[in-house]
Symmetry: C2
Amino acid sequence: MQKYGGSSVATPDKIKAVARRIVAAKEQGYKVVAVVSALGDTTDELIKLARQITDRPPRREMDMLLSTGEQVSISLLAMAVDSLGEPVISLTGAQCGIITDAQHTKARILEIQANRIQEELGKGKIVVVAGFQGITSLNDITTLGRGGSDTTAVALAAVLEAEVCEIYTDVDGVYTADPRVVPEARKLEQISYGEMLEMARLGAGVMQPRAVEIGAQYGIPIHVRASFKDEPGTMIKGEEALEKEVVVTGVTHDTNVAKFVVVDVPDRPGVAAKIFSALADDGVNVDMIVQTNKRTGRTDMLFTVSKDDMESTKDIIEELCKELGGERVIVNTDVAKVSIVGAGMVSNPGVAARMFRALADENINIQVISTSEIKVSCLIDASLVVPAVQAIHKAFELHVG
Amino acid sequence: MQKYGGSSVATPDKIKAVARRIVAAKEQGYKVVAVVSALGDTTDELIKLARQITDRPPRREMDMLLSTGEQVSISLLAMAVDSLGEPVISLTGAQCGIITDAQHTKARILEIQANRIQEELGKGKIVVVAGFQGITSLNDITTLGRGGSDTTAVALAAVLEAEVCEIYTDVDGVYTADPRVVPEARKLEQISYGEMLEMARLGAGVMQPRAVEIGAQYGIPIHVRASFKDEPGTMIKGEEALEKEVVVTGVTHDTNVAKFVVVDVPDRPGVAAKIFSALADDGVNVDMIVQTNKRTGRTDMLFTVSKDDMESTKDIIEELCKELGGERVIVNTDVAKVSIVGAGMVSNPGVAARMFRALADENINIQVISTSEIKVSCLIDASLVVPAVQAIHKAFELHVG
């Protein structure tokens, strides 16, 4: 099982190079299933096209539109493999039997009916699969959201009981921090599913969180590596399989964050439930949540969402704010989240404090704090993200292995 | 039933204009099904993309690639209709139940399982359908060949028992000759299926021949008209419904012709059968066929095909020529076909002669002649096509109604 991201197939020459890599794997005796994303910036261009028609495209039609991107990639990659003389067939998400729910633009895989893939593999063919897409039980095309091709690859690897799921990308592995921000950041040889999950959720763009989740659930080792290099990247696997455990594995940052404050809503039971279930019904993932009690019978409700969900969140929240008798809604997009991740954090109580100290020493104000067993996240001003990540990376001495 | 060609949806503004036209039809009380082609030059650009990967893309993968063009159109058009506040849904060929044979890149519709369309129309929705595409019984995506969207529209009109099938295009009807070649060419108010069929086959690019065939078979009136004008175009209908019959209805020309000569094959039974069944098996439509007997026990076999089929025809014929002991194969693409079409021709024996005379007066040499009950075609040098069409149009006084 191999997966190639959009940058790996951005040009005809790159497509041919990927075809050679796939054929090489076949020649080593593997049955190869290759999952591909849309070429280069295709998805963004399709979104731009839709915006020229309307500001509010129906989600079902967005999926109809966006799914063409991968369909172009698979056909071209199959042509390239064919021209190398290997039998090959391309399959859309629907043809692969990737059945999802009907939550358009961010559907979840319910089931994979892999008989067609099995059949084609049985005929000795290389199978090229469109990532990112599926089909509902009513035969409507869906997409799995940003990075959904990773999910396709890992889910297929699980169903097909693949030995490993290789994620080929434009970076050569998972780093202790974004190397563009922290030049001395170090490539990790291995990382646990849990840590990778947190890092992915917290903005390390290497892997889609849901893909890591599925990998963990089915115990599929995921190898994140560079498309056009031969050296190994980072292996994501179960904790029991890791050779050692460190306190803090890496620092991540995420600027794709919008902060909402619902000001002065009545402080009574059910308010939070009402807000967050309305968002959940619309498929919005809420990240950090903080409620500040004012002793006035009123409260400010603060939370963050991805900028992708900002518009729909705004619509929902402004209506709810009126309904609940809140004062107003403040939206702020000049924020960023910096986080530390590490499985060893639970047993080391001083870790969070060390992070806060590092930020304080740089005079960086923390707006919101959120913690889990293996991560600590701080919301800060977006303009301060680079010094923040650098300071934290240094404080935990992540440049030394 | 409405069908919009690629030029009608080439830009976001044109897509919005088409959406308004569709919504207007709905407001007049019609149930509207709109079939759309790929935006502008998309199909040509996708073909170019494939050529950058390989000279010989597998046909199945070409269909996988090309079918994305219409999928983009339907989603954008559905978004535009939605933004006008009308309920709408886009459907791919597969979702419309357009079942075809497996002759990729030129598949034929076997059956339409229209329950999904019926259902959506029943819900009061405008249905936007991807033209040009279908799906095999094994769930592989197919395309119907150039102009296949017309076929989709007329076939759907037949299944849904539509009142009329409107073909919106960038010309405002069917003319007595190509107005770019003959400025005094006249727009026909009406034309019979048979005449339109011949004109379409002979290069009048307005309608896809197979679409006309289906229209004739099911008696669906086809209205060819301009996308962005309100006046009526040309109505294609049964001969019994026409008000009058003229001897010659129009002149057509076609430069998308390749001439093959298989030189000096043994003149014995079965040779022609062998050649033309090999081409048929590959899905190549052979047009004119002439065999010239040389009294040497050998013969030259001459035939024409569309330039689109030139490469595959060449492969097949060169191999067969060796096998049959022929001397060599000559391919010539500098040829054009000019034709006259008219249902009244059968009972007017002097018509062909008048055409040949018009060409002779212009000093134009005729390479091959082919006739049917309602047409006469001549193969001539491609460089002479404009004076040829003008001379014929004049000879039959087609500029006067």
